[in-house]
């Protein structure tokens, strides 16, 4: 038995099967779950990404574009037009920071704050249709966060 990594002995045929990779179930599951949110979020007038922005603002309060992007893993190319649309809808305000003109402060309007109550049911409805036990959910989140953390670390390495 040659001293090789296990993977080196596996033929390309096996390695390249859709089911044998983690990435495809991850990609497909993420898309389908997001899609499943749509009917609930439509009632609130939000897209999925806009919903994430609202979650972050409800939880952490006023922030900057950069902070928001770090938290949600989104860059300014995505956030800037998104935030402008949300501002146009009256959910939040974008203001150049007085102390540091490079920064733009994002702050919810009263309407944006009020939307939180109507959003309350969204996680409950979604929880009902993922159909896994709380224990499984916790394990899934743990594994996802582990992968997320490792993938990010290996980027700078």
């Amino acid at each position: 038995m040659a001293k090789r990594s296990i993977a080196a002995d596996v033929p390309a045929d096996e390695l390249l099967k859709l089911e044998n990779q983690m990435c495809f179930p991850l990609y497909a599951c993420s898309k389908e779950v997001v899609r499943r949110y749509t009917p609930y979020l439509d009632k609130l007038g939000l897209t999925y990404t806009q919903y994430l922005v609202m979650l972050a603002l409800w939880e952490y309060g006023p922030t900057t574009v950069g902070e928001l992007g770090e938290r949600l893993y989104l860059d300014s190319g995505t956030l800037t037009p998104l935030l402008k649309k949300m501002e146009a809808k009256g959910l939040l305000e974008r203001k150049r920071n007085a102390g540091d003109e490079r920064r733009v402060t994002i702050e919810l309007t009263d309407e944006g704050v009020a939307l939180k109550e109507r959003a309350r049911d969204v996680p409950l409805s979604m929880g009902a249709c993922v159909g896994i036990t709380p224990g499984e959910g916790a394990e899934l989140v743990r594994l996802l966060q582990k992968v997320l953390s490792n993938v990010r670390d290996s980027r700078e390495g």
Copy 2:
């Protein structure tokens, strides 16, 4: 103690925290993993979605747009332009099915088939940077497929 679901007793503040939801780690992890593929796929001249199409074609052989979409959870609005680009690059051919003119058959060219060998290293490289054990990987895939299956079922219900 009133007879209510557990969730009904949890305040909106807790329910709506980013970390308390499965959707956000799922969404973020998927995006970051896909992003991490980019440098490897660049060498093959493929985008991530194009890579998925190639995986499906390498594994299952010639197919139709509809079949491909079912397998990859993509619709014709995404696939048609994608496949046209891949055809222009010489990776595959799109032909109207002789027996049923509604269908378009997708088939790899020799060049498309040959690319498989060069793609062999991609799963190995990616496997190295997700940094979880084979056991954890298997559990993660199992849970993702369970959620995927449940989310899809609840759509028609």
